[in-house]
């Protein structure tokens, strides 16, 4: 009991002896310069390069391949007031560089003046005396026993045409492309430019009279192996247009909607594709399986009738389709020797007799006339739809036809004479 009281009396003293030295000791040193922000915090959007998405997905992996950075570096500390360095202090080469292939990282000797190291001979680098002069201070993973060896820095060159000097000469500051590196610690791929940021300036016509900030793809992208295309295949991946550029992201269903991109700006497509790429389908001789599945020959009639796809975007009815339909004997004007493929249309009671309902040729023709034109020559229809004296006299004209026929007659009277004799009274209304 006495012992317990003694311990309790000494407790304050024990607390003082044990806690005060801990409180006075330095907190464990936090390593800086391992990421853009301490503890790899997310970089605020306003510090990222202009044009970065929000949330940011980083720059293109294809243009800026993945890096392996083995250096610890704190930009904000170096660029701050205490040290007073500028971008040019370490990256002077960037101010004169004409190519994205140039190495713009500072050499070790740039560090020597402050860190008391000696990188002049890289085979025998001499560390400094104090902590910040030790190899491990900057070179990640370095151990004293490693001698002169440090981990290799992997920083593949950008797959890009870029002239730093041209931009510097136009007074374009580093931050305009790289973001607020001065407020960050380690600069990573995330501090490399975003394509959309380039378009803040590169919005000019191809005409040379407006300066060099053209929006043409070949202003920045590497040329292809030949021709006027840009290079799209790299070891780091394949280049595809981003979603926000003409909304031309090559999604799995792009084949269904690419027509709108090409219709508006085919020159945009021709930066990456030659005519051959387009004509392989649009004037092709081998069925593209991503458009027409296997066994399409047997199922195409249903599709054509339903107009599921716009057949005319690749096939001309009165040549491609008609040729084959004549050969296989499915067309009315097929030669006598052509084999009989069987009747394509429903029986006469549905196809020709009233009333007009699904399955009746009048209904089907109004619904999708292209399907008729893919098999029938003009004569097949004139038999009945030609005016009396030429055909059966069943009027096929559209509603309001008389309102437009004189204009059509003036521009091209030829089709009128196919069904009407020149002396036909009905024709006089359109003359």
């Amino acid at each position: 009991m006495k012992l317990l009281r003694t311990l309790l009396a000494l407790l304050p003293l024990l607390v003082v002896v044990a806690v005060v030295p801990l409180a006075l000791a330095d907190a464990p040193a936090q390593l800086h310069g391992l990421a853009p922000l301490p503890d790899d915090q997310e970089v605020p959007h306003n510090l990222l390069p202009p044009g970065a998405d929000d949330p940011d997905r980083g720059p293109s992996d294809v243009i800026f391949p993945q890096q392996h950075i083995t250096i610890r570096f704190n930009h904000s500390k170096h660029l701050g007031g205490m040290i007073g360095a500028t971008c040019k202090t370490c990256h002077a080469l960037a101010y004169t560089s004409r190519s994205a292939q140039d190495v713009l990282l500072p050499k070790g000797v740039v560090c020597d003046s402050c860190h008391d190291t000696d990188h002049r001979d890289l085979s025998r680098v001499k560390p400094g005396d104090d902590a910040m002069g030790q190899c491990a201070f900057c070179h990640l993973g370095y151990k004293p026993g490693d001698g002169n060896r440090v981990a290799e820095l992997e920083m593949p060159r950008a797959n890009l045409l870029f002239d730093h000097r041209a931009h510097v000469d136009r007074n374009i500051g580093c931050a305009q492309c790289h973001g607020a590196v001065d407020q960050l610690e380690l600069a990573t791929r995330d501090q490399l430019p975003r394509m959309r940021g380039c378009f803040h300036c590169h919005e000019m016509s191809d005409s040379a009279s407006r300066g060099q900030a053209k929006s043409a793809c070949d202003a920045c992208h590497l040329p292809g192996k030949s021709g006027t295309l840009i290079k799209t295949m790299y070891a780091s991946g394949t280049l595809y247009p981003p979603r926000w550029l003409h909304n031309a992201e090559h999604t799995p269903d792009f084949v269904l909607r690419h027509k709108w991109v090409a219709a508006d700006d085919s020159q945009f497509c021709s930066n990456c594709h030659t005519e051959d790429y387009c004509t392989d389908c649009h004037d092709g001789r081998v069925r593209p399986r991503n458009v027409h599945p296997n066994d399409y020959l047997n199922m195409h009639a249903i599709e054509a009738r339903m107009a599921t796809q716009n057949c005319q975007s690749c096939h001309r009815d009165q040549s491609f389709c008609l040729d084959c339909h004549l050969r296989v004997g499915v067309a009315e004007s097929s030669p006598p020797d052509a084999k009989d493929s069987g009747r394509f249309h429903p029986p006469k009671s549905i196809w020709s007799d009233p009333p007009m309902k699904p399955g009746h040729h009048g209904f089907e023709a109004e619904r999708n006339l292209n399907a008729c034109v893919s098999c029938h020559t003009e004569r097949d229809c004139v038999v009945c739809h030609g005016a009396l004296g030429v055909g059966g006299g069943f009027d096929p004209h559209r509603n309001g036809f008389l309102g437009s026929c004189s204009r059509q007659f003036r521009r091209n009277p030829r089709p009128c004479f196919v069904c009407h004799e020149p002396t036909d009274g009905a024709l006089a209304q359109c003359r």
């Binding site: 949330p55 016509s205 191809d206 005409s207 407006r210 053209k214 929006s215 043409a216 030949s226 021709g227 006027t228 926000w244 550029l245 909304n247 992201e249 090409a262 508006d264 005519e275 051959d276 004509t279 001789r285 296997n294 066994d295 020959l297 047997n298 199922m299 599709e303 339903m306 975007s313 040549s319 008609l322 050969r327 296989v328 004997g329 020797d337 084999k339 009989d340 069987g342 009747r343 249309h345 009333p355 399955g359 109004e366 999708n368 008729c372 739809h385 006299g393 096929p396 004209h397 559209r398 509603n399 309001g400 036809f401 008389l402 309102g403 059509q408 521009r411 091209n412 030829r414 209304q429």
Partner: protein
Amino acid sequence: MRARAAAAAAVLSVLAVPQRAHAMDADVTSDTAAQFYDVRSPTGETILSRRRLTTTLGVGAYNLLDTAPGDLSAPELSFRARVRYDADYGASGGESDPRNYAAVVPGFSPDVVDLMYAYLEGRRFLHGWLGFKLGRQYVTDVLGWWAFDGGEASVTTPYFFKVEAYTGLEERGGMPLSTPRFEADGIWRGDRNGYDPSLYPMFQPATIAPAFGVALESTGVTWIHGRLTYRRVYDTGASNVTEYASGLYAPAMYDGARISTEKLGYSVDADWADHGGAKAGVVYDFYAGEVTSLYGSLDAYLGQKVTVSADYDYYVPVFDADSIWNFFAGEPMNDVGLRTNVDVTDRLSLSGGANLRVFSVQTAPFDPGVGAAYSPYPNYTPAQNLFPTNGHPFDEGVNLSGRYRTGEMTVGLNGSGNWGQEGDRSGADVYVQRVFDTRYVAGVRAGLWQWIDKLQPDRDATSFQYVLTAGYRFAPNAQGTLEWEHDMNRLVGQGFRLLAMLTLAVTK
């Protein structure tokens, strides 16, 4: 004697002047496909045995002016051409013999050579203002695909627009080294050499088709782009207007220059950074006197990975003004759809959508025009009860696509379903393509599709198909592949197709 000596001296002086070495780039490409398959009737009989060979040869020569590499202000001159040979060795000789009346298919040729394109292109001449193309070339815009022989010149201004003008002859089937692919539809036309003038009158003779066009297009800015385009094509020469062959008299002809097509179109697209984009286009046909195509598409970006879109497409079939089809009551189609794309990861994307295709049909007797005196022919039947009550029948459709790709492999799915009064079709393909060791190409594709023919019920079928592909890549742009396709359905039984392809490219 003195003149001859002077000429010789001039030639020698030209030859003696040292020529500067050109840094010209050039490439030669070739694609060859051999296809072997049978076309069968719905009852399973072989109708055609197709033994096809298609081969192309392309040449390109670039940087003909030898400008400094990377000088984006320097003028640039290049030449590109591609010629194609397309043959069907399975065709019978009679099919292309105009004297074989039992077998000839007018316009058909078992072996066709065509010049797909051949043009000299200049860019950035006159300090970047002038561009041009001379030769056979394509024009692609909201008016569609088109090809012509002639010249095109464009002036790119520093004021964010360029002006383009072109003139020449439309590429037409039946003319030398030409195919009918890019001429307006509706006329069965071709080379009538060798045909008796009194026979096959509905097969029209090919003649030259003068054409011209102009366009005004925005340039420079990337978030918005528009193109206003106009084109007029003429039909010329004689055209048969007597559709029935008598064998005794030559058909009546219409002769003279006349409009083939005349269209004005405008297209625009705009993107709004992280939020979305829009596209729209319209085509007015001066011959038909109406808007024949109108589309609009709105995209909303929901975050980084999801895009939701709404589409509208209006289409009226129009044909060459020589054709009678323009006078037929072909009515517009209206297509409305919703779709979405999800980029699940950088490698995996899924797209899906649904659409309604709304057709138009008459529900009442034709009204030729208000107030117009019109004399319907005796066979004209105006009874109300002969017409459908619903003037806008519609079909429904859905589609689903997925793709997973790495550098060497692509795995994909393409599925769709369409249902309507005329028929249904639904099914899906799955495929895997892989390149092993950067050289060995392998692929498998399998599909299951069903179609229901509501106009001919005995033509319904379910089809299972697969394709096996093996190939070897000699070089990055050269490879040979062999494909084996096997189709099975109850109508034609077993169907096979063998496809051998060889792609070659040499680049300097």
